[in-house]
Symmetry: C2
DNA sequence: TTGAATATGTACTCGTCGGTATCGTTTTAC
DNA sequence: GTAAAACGATACCGACGAGTACATATTCAA
């Protein structure tokens, strides 16, 4: 394995383990054991555990945003449908057996000092996510796209937290109510929000609460 | 200070510190230093740190649900207004300088094994929260209250995560857009959802996505 | 007042975890 | 083919954190 590949492999495995066991909860030694890469080598690639975490989050940020983007572009050409498609992708993520909530939110909880570089990394990720939503909202011709994008993001984050704690599959909620997934419930909420937003932006400016 | 009071004081201070510095991030020694209570005494009250955490979460669960309940009951008699009032209380919480995201969600991230008693405690808390929302939704005469309550809870959780990472005050979002708070944006979304739900439940059963 | 329960303080154990040092081996680049 | 860089293994360090032991002081009930 080439040097660069080794670095990438390290990042990938580490991210997976952080997801499963938390950031503070996953030790360097465990990452060593799992990857089969020596500690010395690890520390030649990353100056510290924190830097490994940051690198892992950075790569994950890129990857998830890319995936979302391509998923949305393939889903439809209609801007409104595209906005809704983000919930379909969310659904896939949540249903996937590895789902353990949003690792970025988890990182923000574990490294809760706002000035900590890891927290900053998380903030950057969410800003970019929000910016992408804003782009989609703008394309759909909805007024006050910043605000509406925030609402959509909230629905996403909420669905993730909900599914994480209450269980996406079976445990407590989903099973009780047919087979409707958490993400699809969020999607349905988004549908109503979009309908309402379309109505107000097509007519006169209207104040709703 | 009486024994029981000491226990309570311990729990309160610990919870505050967990909020600020995370659960794993806050050491027993720091709690000692902050409370002025000796380690021996602490361990006479709680068998382990985990039990202290569980006790702290349990008390916080009671307290927050009680606060919400009384806030809502004082806010209005109209069931719909009551549902919306939950967002006003959310607003107060988020704006409060101590806000660091939801400690329950943080706990679920840090103790991410689903069978861990701390995770279970978190799950229980969210179930109770959800049940209360369901109660409010039912009172408002909205159909499929379980589902709708889930949507409201998602909006809440989403607003909390959003404000935690992106900053409720100033940092990146709120300041840019006038003085509108994250919670009030979520509230506005809830308004639209309620309006849509009222419309469909007053007429014929209607399938919306 | 006296005895039992409870508190304090300090010092200690013991495991873990992040990070380093050393040294011999393998790979890569030219 | 050879030098330089990268890798692996193992042992190690220092810090910290959870939890205990123990000897002393304080409260409180009978």
């Amino acid at each position: 394995m080439k040097r660069a590949d080794k670095r990438d492999y390290l990042i990938d495995v580490a991210m997976q383990m952080f997801n499963r066991g938390g950031f503070r909860g996953t030790g360097i030694d465990e990452i060593m054991a799992e990857t089969g890469i020596a500690k010395t080598t690890l520390y030649r690639h990353f100056a510290s555990k924190d830097e490994l975490i940051i690198a892992a989050l950075a790569k994950s940020d890129e990857a998830t945003r890319d995936e979302l983007r391509t998923f949305v572009e393939r889903a439809s050409n209609d801007p409104t449908e595209r906005l809704l498609a983000t919930f379909d992708q969310l659904d896939i993520w949540i249903r996937d057996g590895e789902f353990k909530g949003c690792p970025f939110v988890a990182a923000a909880s574990e490294f809760c000092d706002v000035n900590h570089p890891i927290f900053q990394q998380v903030r950057m990720h969410k800003r970019l996510y929000l910016a992408y939503f804003e782009e989609l909202v703008r394309a759909a011709g909805i007024s006050d796209p910043k605000r509406f994008a925030a609402q959509i993001l909230m629905l996403h984050e909420g669905a993730v937290a909900f599914a994480h704690v209450l269980g996406s599959d079976g445990t407590s909620f989903a099973k009780a109510r047919g087979a409707e997934s958490v993400a699809s419930i969020a999607r349905s909420a988004a549908t109503h929000l979009i309908a309402a937003a379309m109505k107000t932006s097509s007519g006169e400016a209207e104040i709703v609460n």
